[in-house]
């Protein structure tokens, strides 16, 4: 006669089998990895929120336009730090894996709640890393819109992390010198070796990708989805003119309308007749890559002053693009008043290529690439 499988024995047996490998499997290793993850997820959450609120500023706040490379730095840290977190998270989960198979599955109401929270923590953390990685690889096999799902999941994961850290705080505190916990065996070569290996894996992932945003290491960016210097006019492109459905139009004019003293309609020749300025500014993509170019054209503020605007005005920059999430962007006073903010006509010494926004695009300091609107058709001025 067949015996009914006994879940208690099965689960315990799996747990015992899973803990047969001892490498990396002690509490202090878990605490060290947990502390590192706490740091990396905090960096990811904060830089992610910066990216979100730069694109969707709350009514009461405006972003500064300096330092020029701030967004380049925060989003580079977000994405490259996120990639480097992949081995770190996997190592942590390896360390605590046997605990998945414990019997009884729950010992008390508190224990049940604690275990229930592990699901959003682990599933959510894996979700963030996997969808983030797929997104920067332009691979979208999921049914949701990446940015929105990744955004809200960040709160869930970070909230679960805060609770988890509160529960485990005693163990993390035990890591400090002089705070040996009861479990503290001397740091053996095995634990140090394991942690060093994990650190090496994180470092190697960072080293082979960081060049996509930190140009001095561009030569090492063997595995990054972008390479600075590769693209039309030596600058990568995210949306091509063809993809945007925009064709060069010899009759093109720039309209300046809305809350202005006099409406303007400027041809390319009119813009070229105005004082020209050059600025070296990066395209800093939300996807973490960035690359600097030398842009030339007219200052946005010169055009706005010619039209007559008040100092607190906001400007909507609209593209020739018919649709799409990034068809238009808002420019707040700190940015349009900045002397570096240009309506660029040239890139790296040549007129903009169609893929970089010919005839005219916005380029401003400290601003996500998706807001550097290309193929500008209109500037619409409105109240602050």
């Amino acid at each position: 006669m067949l015996r009914r499988p006994d879940p208690a024995r099965l689960i315990t047996a799996i747990g015992r089998f899973a803990s047969r490998e001892r490498d990396g499997r002690d509490e202090r290793t878990a605490a060290w990895l947990g502390a590192a993850l706490g740091v990396s997820f905090t960096v990811a959450f904060v830089t992610g929120l910066i990216s979100h609120f730069m694109q969707h500023p709350p009514g009461w706040a405006v972003w500064p336009s300096r330092p020029v490379g701030l967004y380049r730095l925060t989003q580079g840290a977000h994405v490259i730090g996120g990639l480097a977190t992949i081995p770190l998270l996997l190592a942590k989960l390896w360390t605590v894996y046997p605990r998945l198979w414990q019997w009884p599955p729950v010992r008390s109401a508190g224990h049940a709640l604690e275990r229930a929270l592990v699901f959003p923590l682990v599933g959510g953390a894996l979700f963030q890393l996997v969808t983030g990685l797929f997104n920067i690889a332009y691979f979208y096999p999921f049914p949701f819109f990446f940015t929105t799902a990744h955004y809200w999941t960040a709160y869930i994961v970070y909230g679960a992390l805060v609770v988890h850290v509160a529960n485990e705080w005693a163990k993390v505190r035990g890591l400090r010198p002089g705070h040996g916990s009861a479990d503290a065996r001397p740091t053996g070569p095995s634990r140090r070796g394991f942690l060093a290996t994990v650190a090496g894996a994180c470092g190697l992932v960072g080293l082979t990708t960081v060049g996509e945003t930190f140009t001095p290491l561009g030569g090492l960016a063997l595995l990054s989805p972008r390479r600075p210097g590769v693209g039309p006019q030596r600058l990568p492109v995210n949306k091509t003119a063809a993809a945007a459905g925009v064709r060069p139009d010899p009759a093109w004019r720039l309209a300046v309308t809305g809350d202005v003293a006099r409406e303007l309609s400027l041809s390319l020749a009119d813009l070229r007749a105005m004082p020209q300025h050059a600025a070296r500014l990066p395209i800093a993509c939300v996807e973490g890559w960035s690359a600097a170019g030398t842009w030339a054209g007219v200052r946005l503020r010169d055009v706005l002053h010619a039209a007559g605007v008040h100092a607190g005005a906001r400007v909507r920059v609209e593209s020739l693009e018919a649709g799409g999430r990034y068809r238009a962007s808002e420019v707040d006073p700190p940015h349009w008043r900045d002397e570096l903010t240009l309506l660029a006509l040239d890139l790296n010494g040549e007129p903009l290529s169609p893929d970089h926004g010919y005839p005219c695009r916005l380029i401003a300091p400290d601003r996500p690439g998706v807001l550097q609107t290309k193929w500008i058709a209109r500037l619409v001025v409105h109240g602050s």
Binding site: F142, Y155, Y158, V162, R226, G231
Partner: protein, 144 residues
């Protein structure tokens, strides 16, 4: 066990963040597709717990049979190789390439990954040889 004030504050903060995220996810359901989202969150956990870790466990038990002087460098090399491969995989598959935008995924990722893996293998082999030599010396010096 007494629950201190700091911990209660942390619980409150954590619960609030989870609440904000959950509410946002549902409010933006048109974009987040909560059912699809749940499938991906649960799927990620299941794939990890039932496929990835068992596979790693298998490799760990296999490499556990190696003599000690080989075991460590082999394992370190495998961890490094698996990490870079996991991160590079979407690039190597190149499913995100688009005609007309050659600056997107512009590199020969398969070749690049092979180079990185070869370097890891080389470093691992050098470390193994080094350890073997050192272990041999140690043995011959030991008094009988």
């Amino acid at each position: 066990m007494r629950v201190g004030r700091g911990r209660l504050i942390a619980y409150g903060l954590g619960a609030a963040l989870i609440g904000v995220g959950g509410a946002g996810l549902l409010r933006d359901a048109a974009e987040t597709d909560p059912v699809g989202w749940l499938v991906w969150v649960a799927g990620a956990a299941l794939v990890h717990d039932l496929l990835v870790v068992p596979a790693v466990l298998g490799v760990a038990l296999l490499t556990g049979r190696l003599p000690t002087s080989y075991r460590r460098p082999v394992r370190v090399s495998l961890v490094l190789a698996a990490s870079v491969s996991a991160v590079a995989l979407p690039m190597v598959l190149g499913l995100g390439r688009r005609a007309g935008d050659p600056s997107r995924l512009p590199q020969a990722y398969g070749v690049h990954l092979a180079v990185v893996l070869a370097l890891i293998g080389l470093a691992g082999a050098v470390a193994t040889a080094f350890r073997a030599i050192r272990a041999g010396r140690g043995r011959s010096r030991r008094p009988r």
